[in-house]
Amino acid sequence: MIGTLKSIPRVALYEGEGSRPIAGPVRAELTRLLLEKGYAVSSIRPGGQVAPATSGVLLVLGEFLEQKPLEAVAETDAVKVLFRDIAALDVPKIMGLVESLCGTTPLPKPGGWKPWFPVIDFGRCTNCMQCLSFCLFDVYGVSTEGKIQVQHENHCKTDCPACSRVCPEVAILFPKYRSGPINGDEINSEDLRRESMKVDISSLLGGDIYQALRDRSDKAKSRFSKERDEDRALKERQRCLTKLQEQLEIPPEVLASLPSLDQIQAKAVQAKQRAADALGMNSAQLT
């Protein structure tokens, strides 16, 4: 999990009893800009219902007919409610007001962390722990009940969907991935067939996938790789590795940033041990 259990600031555009409607273009532009800055926006209209606010800051903007208190505390005490009248303000001024009251949101700036991380479909997951033993970046962990969990979303390598490729059950999603079934689209029989092929490829390599990929990356960097790779068997291995890298869709940047061989080996041993411990714990609970 990332950060603290705090809600992102929420802005309510209030157009109910005791207020005038906000002009259409202002309402539209404001909503879009607030969302693009990472705020949540609740559009409050007569007779409608929005999600209750139970924590954090709720900034209520409106064109109020009567003066509102600047600040109030909601019944639960956990919500700070601020009221501001925006009747005399244009959109840039309202945005300035929101930022001065709520602060800028802790969401990624352009070029910062994009919300890219695995999401497990527990309707399919069999708790086999292959993802845990595969991932070298401690994204996965095990709950106290012995269940696989995504624990460190922000350790995940942006745009790398490799663990979804090793999951035998097609149970790992990356919602921002470009195509199905990894993006959450329904799974068809062709997807399932492809998954079993991937397992074959990794067993063909007969060893640690990361070590093999690391070998490949090192060879690519070597000025002499061409001469060394003249050997046919090596070429065949290279071909398999290229295929594997393509199949796992590991971006070149991720491959280039793999830790050293020693670190990989140590991490792989650790990850496998955690997976084995979890599986051991689960089977002990069953007996």
């Binding site: 999990m1 259409g24 559009s43 409050i44 919602p175 959450g184």
Partner: protein, 114 residues
């Protein structure tokens, strides 16, 4: 009427811009109350408590992306969607018209107030 949640998918280009902006525009003009969030993925990764508020209390219609992805994003944030009563409309594949019909109900008449 079910509550409405709209996801702006602010940190990726996976939902076609034209669709999400048109859906947002029409929701804003509809005169109907709704909650809009910048990015449900981001909120799920942070276990944002608002996920629970969005998923609780009665039926809800969510304009976002693939229903399987949205379902497990909520679940990962300890805010499972109600088994009955939650409908996810996929802005990655549907047109803005179909999303609006699904969320507001077919033939919804705008009550634009400004």
């Amino acid at each position: 009427m079910p509550r409405i949640v709209y996801c702006h998918c602010a940190y990726a280009q996976v939902v076609p811009k034209a669709v999400k902006e048109e859906v947002l525009r029409r929701l804003v003009e509809s005169g109907v109350a709704f909650d809009a969030v910048a990015d449900l993925c981001e909120m799920s990764a942070k276990r944002d408590p608002m996920m629970k508020q969005l998923s609780q209390e009665g039926s809800v219609k969510i304009a976002a992306c693939y229903p399987r992805a949205v379902k497990w994003l909520f679940s990962a944030a300890d805010a499972p969607l109600p088994l009955a009563g939650a409908e996810v409309v996929n802005m990655r594949v549907e047109t803005a018209d179909r999303v609006i019909d699904a969320v507001l109900g077919e033939g919804f008449k705008q009550t634009e107030s400004a």
